[in-house]
Symmetry: C2
Subunit: 64 residues, 2 copies
Amino acid sequence: MNNRVRELRTGLGWSQADLGERLDVSRQTVNAIETGKYDPSLPLAFKIARLFSLTIESIFTPEA
Amino acid sequence: MNNRVRELRTGLGWSQADLGERLDVSRQTVNAIETGKYDPSLPLAFKIARLFSLTIESIFTPEA
DNA sequence: TCCGGATGTCAAGCGAGCTTGACAAAACAC
DNA sequence: GTGTTTTGTCAAGCTCGCTTGACATCCGGA
C-alpha cells in the first residue's frame, strides 16, 4: 500500500508529532505509516482523509 | 463504522461464502464485517470497493 | 559549539483482524 | 416434513495496528 501522507504533511509544514496529535495517534504510528511499515486501520484512514479534505482513494493506493 | 456490504452482496444474489471467495477471505470474516463485529483492514476495504465498483467512502461510513 | 526539534527504530505489550474447525438455528427447496 | 443452504456464533491461534518508553542520529539556530 503506497500513500501520500508524508507529502501532504510536509506540505503543511507539520512534524510527524504534529500530525499524530491531530489524528490522536502516536508519532511512531505516523512514522510507521509514512515509511510503509504497516497500513493504517480503516477508521484511521478515514481520519487522515478528512484531515486533508481528500478521499481515501486519492491518498492510499494498493500496490497490487 | 457502518457499511452497506450486506445490501450490496444480497443485491447480487451472493451468499456470504460467495463474497468471501471473491475477496479471498473466510465467510466468517464477511459475516463479522456485515454484523459490525469489526472493521475490515484498509487493503480489504479496497478489495470490497473494487469488487462492487464503488468508492470506499460510498460503502463505509465512520459512525462518529 | 552546543542544544532542541525532528526522524528512525527497537522492545514489550495489548486489542483488532483474520484463520480453520465446529455446531446450532433459520431459511429454502422439493 | 425431510434435506440442503445459509447464517450466526464460538474457540483457539497467529499476525497486524497501535501504545509507551527509550535511544541514536541528524540537522538548524543561537
